[in-house]
Symmetry: C2
Subunit: 302 residues, 2 copies
C-alpha cells in the first residue's frame, strides 16, 4: 500500500506492508501554484510511487490533498493554495498507475490515522485539530470521518474577535499567522511559530501577546467542538502541536474554566506528526481494497 499526501510545500509518500508497517518513504517538493499544478502533482505522485515500488510493488494507492475534497466522486473540488478546482484525481491517477486508487482529504485522512494508530487510538469518538499553515478539524465517529460533502471542519474560516477586530480564526491561530503577526508587530524577522514560542518562554511580551491571542482563538474552537460533539479526545496536530505545555496548558485551563459539564475531552498532541496524512492515505487505499468506506460523505447517504 502506498499513501501520498500533497502538502502546501512538500509531498510525502509512504509504503506500508500488509500489516501496516512502514517499509519506505519518500518526499518531494509540491509543484508551485500554476495552471498545470494538478498535472504536475499527478506526475510527482507517479514518480514517488515508482520509487517506492522498487521496495515492494504496491497493490493500491491512496492520494490525499488539501482544500475541499469530495471523496465520493474522487474529485478535488477546490484548493485556493494550489489553485485547482474540480480535478478528478481518483480516475486520472488510477489510469496512470493501473492500480486501484483511493482519493481523499489530507486532514480527514490524518484523523483516520491518528484514530487507528495514533493519539486517538481506542477512543470511541475523536476530533483531529491540525494547526499548521491553516486550522481545521475532522470528527471521527464509529471509525468513520465526517466529510459533509467535503466542507466539514473548516473552522479556520470562522470569524473571531481579537483586539476588537473580527478576523478569521486561522489569520490569528495558524502556525503561519503566529509568525506573521509577531513580525508585523515587532519588525523582528522570526521564521515562524516555533521562534515565537521560544520568545514567549524567554519572556518577550509581544510574543506572549501574539501567542495568547492565538491560544484564545483556538480555545473558542475547542469549546464549540466540545459542546457540539462531546468527543472523548481532541488530538491537536500540525506544527503548533509541538509547542508542548505552552499550548496544551492554557487550552486545558480554558476548558476547565469554560466547560462545566462532565464531557470535557482530553486534549492531547498528535502522535504521527507530519506523516498522519500519508499514513491516512495508505489506510484509505487499504480500506478501498476491503470495500470499507472510512469517510461518510453526503452523496452516498442519499
Amino acid at each position: 500500500m502506498v499513501g501520498v499526501d500533497v502538502g502546501g510545500t512538500e509531498t510525502k509518500a509512504v509504503l506500508l506492508d500488509a500489516s501496516g508497517e512502514v517499509l519506505a518513504q519518500r518526499r518531494g517538493a509540491t509543484p508551485p501554484r500554476a495552471s498545470d499544478t494538478a498535472q504536475r502533482v499527478l506526475d510527482l505522485t507517479c514518480s514517488l510511487v515508482g520509487e517506492l515500488a522498487e521496495h515492494a510493488a504496491p497493490v493500491a494507492v491512496g492520494l490525499v490533498v488539501p482544500g475541499i475534497v469530495d471523496e465520493t466522486r474522487g474529485v478535488a473540488v477546490l484548493s485556493a493554495n494550489l489553485g485547482w478546482s474540480d480535478v478528478p484525481f481518483a480516475p486520472l491517477l488510477g489510469a496512470r498507475l493501473g492500480l486501484p486508487v483511493a482519493f481523499g482529504h489530507d486532514v480527514r485522512a490524518g484523523a483516520l490515522a491518528e484514530h487507528r494508530s495514533g493519539a486517538a487510538r481506542g477512543a470511541a469518538d475523536a476530533v483531529f485539530l491540525p494547526v499548521g499553515t491553516g486550522v481545521s478539524a475532522a470528527h471521527v465517529r464509529s471509525g468513520q470521518v465526517h466529510s459533509g460533502g467535503g466542507y466539514a471542519g473548516e473552522v479556520g474560516q470562522v470569524p473571531v474577535e481579537v483586539r476588537g477586530q473580527r478576523v478569521r480564526l486561522e489569520a490569528v491561530a495558524s502556525a503561519g499567522a503566529i509568525g506573521q503577526r509577531y513580525r508585523e508587530r515587532t519588525g523582528n524577522p522570526v521564521a515562524g511559530a516555533a521562534d515565537v514560542a521560544r520568545l514567549v518562554e524567554g519572556g518577550d511580551p509581544a510574543a506572549a501577546e501574539v501567542w495568547d491571542e492565538a491560544v484564545e482563538a483556538l480555545g473558542h474552537a475547542l469549546i464549540w467542538l466540545t459542546a457540539l460533539l462531546a468527543p472523548e479526545v481532541v488530538v491537536v496536530g500540525g506544527g503548533l502541536s509541538q509547542a508542548g505545555p505552552l499550548l496544551f496548558d492554557p487550552l486545558a485551563r480554558r476548558l476547565a474554566a469554560d466547560w462545566s459539564l462532565a464531557s470535557a475531552p482530553e486534549v492531547v498532541p498528535a502522535e504521527l506528526g507530519d506523516r498522519a496524512g500519508s499514513l491516512g492515505a495508505a489506510l484509505l487505499a487499504a480500506d478501498l481494497l476491503e470495500h470499507r468506506n472510512p469517510v461518510i460523505n453526503r452523496t452516498e447517504e442519499r
Copy 2:
C-alpha cells in the same frame, strides 16, 4: 406505538399507528422538581400510556427526557431542572408496562423526527437547533443522531461575550432568557420571548436590543456548527422558531456575511412544533422493534 416526551413543564404523549399516523394524543403537567420526581414521571407516563391504549393497544413505548441521557444504558444521567441523576428509566418503565421501552433524549428524538418527517426530510445531514427554555443542538448523519455519551449538543452552555460580559449562550438566547432580559432592562413584565418579538416589531428599542443580542449569540452557534459539520440544513425549533423573519432573516444575513464557503446550510423553521419530541420518542420505539439503532452513542462503539 406510543411516544412520551417529558418537558420542563408539560409532558406530551402521542399514539401512532404502524404507518406513523397520529391516532391520539394526551398532555399532562410534568411533576415539579422534588425528591420523587422520577417516580412521579413514571406514574404520569403509565397513566398517559393507559389513556392512549384505550384507542389502540401499543406494541412498544418510547420515552424521552431532557438533560444528559445515556441511550445505550437507558439511563437519565442528569437533569438539573427536574433534579434527578442516574435514573434507569428504560428498565423501570419496561417493568411497569410489560412492553418494550425505548429511552432517549428529547432533543435527539426531536432531531430524528424532523429528519424523518419534518423540516429536514430528505437531507443527507442536518442539525436540529431547538431554542426554547434552553438552547441545544443535535446532528443527524446517515439517519443516526450523534449522542457523544449523552453530552453532544450542549451549545447552550458555551460562554459568549455580550455587552462586554461573558455569559452562557442560553442565558442570552433562549426564549426564557429573552423575556427575562427584557423584564430586567425595562421593568415591563412581559410573559416571554413572543411578547418581546411583538415589541421589536412595534419599534421598542430595548426589545430590539435584547433581541439582537440573542440573535447575535445564536449566530455564533450557527457559524460554528456550519464550520464543524457543514450540514445541508439547520432546523431551528423550540418556541423561538415561531418568530419567523424576525429570527430567520438576521440569521441568514449572518451566514451570508460570515461564511464564504459554498457549504452554508439552509436555515429553516421546524415543522413538527412541540410534538417533535414525542413523535421522535415513538420513532425510537418503532426502531427498537426493528432492531435499528437511530442513536450513535459511545458505549456501543467500543
